[in-house]
Amino acid sequence: MTQSDYNLLADTAILAGEIMLKSGAEVNRVEDTIQRILEVSNLKHVETVVMGTCIIASISNPDMNAITVSRRVHAETTNLGKIDDVNEVSRKFCSRKISLKEAFHQLKKIEARRRYSNRMHLLASMMVAFLFCILFGGSVRDLLPAILSGTSVYFSEKICSRKRTAAFITSMFSAFILSMIAFLIDAAIPWRIHRDEVITGTLMLLVPGLAITNASRDILMSNYISGAARLLEALILALAVALGTGIALFIMQYII
């Protein structure tokens, strides 16, 4: 292997790690994947450090210059499919079924790909809002408000991701909008709806389920820094949801 091959290997490994970390994989898995890809080089030192928002990987041998790559990772939307796709590619690469260049190109493709269309996402948001509303004790009469508030979450998240706001603001804004819409519809339509159930059902789109899961996994695997960061993330997101809803409730208390 030449120096440029090693460079490409390091790039591939860090790209794989970046995609996984962005999509919401736990730190242990990201570290493991990068380590496995880099170990294909058979160099003496292969080191990987992954923390909540950064990746550092280094390979070196006594007879060559060390290659160290670091990456600042900005969290994006959760994308569980990408994690599995990257895993698949790294598994194939490590068992020598595909070449290094092929692996790099496949990873590039994965990075750009989206599995479901926007329309599917919108439909899924409506579905989640309505069905959770029913699970929590609502009825079919809540169909309209649930669907509208699910739609509002989809669009407010879309707006916030375009403006690149912080996750805290996104959650708070979405929770605020959805509660306002539920209240307004409750006031506007003639039949009675289960307003609380509509709001909680739609809130399920915003609760930090992934953050709680990842926090416990990271802490279990002794990645305390990332684990603590995720725990804080879960707490902050829950707080944001509570705050957004609370503001809406507070305003509506005076109007209605």
Binding site: E39, D84, L135, I212, A242
Partner: protein, 155 residues
């Protein structure tokens, strides 16, 4: 039965929101709906125990299925666990707080924290057991993936 079906469909919705792979959607939803039934069945007496047991069930099934389907545990577990994540408790806490009923708000807040804690505890326990099992199973596997020295990566 109807709540099983509704939970199943709701979790399929979540699978799409989280862009989980197509082959995960059905298993994840079945697992999640089973967990929700467990939660409902036990929830009348003690919601913490119910949350814990439901999370254990979901975690065991999703860890098992993850090995079988060759996907990450997360993509099965996260959509499945969401019905149990305490969104309702958070909302109730806020709504009581706004109304000035602080003790009811405090109770719901504690519920939310404890329920999240029991989910985390379930993940930790089940995951660690599966981690040990997998470690035993694949002990030889990892060294065979590593290639011999001097091997070249082909282009």
């Amino acid at each position: 039965m109807s709540s099983f079906i509704f939970a199943f469909l709701a979790i399929i919705g979540f699978c799409v929101v989280f862009e989980s792979p197509l082959k995960c959607c059905i298993p994840a939803s079945l697992i999640g709906a089973t967990g929700w039934i467990v939660y409902l069945a036990l929830g009348r007496e003690n919601i913490y125990v119910a949350g814990f047991m439901a999370s254990v069930v979901i975690a065991i099934f999703s860890d098992g299925c993850a090995v079988w389907l060759k996907v990450s545990t997360t993509s099965l577990f996260v959509p499945g666990i969401l019905p149990i994540v305490p969104g309702t408790a958070i909302y109730r806490a806020v709504s009581y707080f706004v109304k000035g009923k602080y003790s009811a708000a405090g109770k719901n807040f504690v519920d939310a924290v404890m329920l999240s804690g029991s989910i985390a505890l379930a993940i930790v326990i089940v995951d660690y057991v599966f981690y040990l099992i997998r470690d035993q199973m694949y002990r030889g596997d990892r060294s065979s993936v590593k290639c011999k020295t001097g091997d070249k990566i082909d282009h």
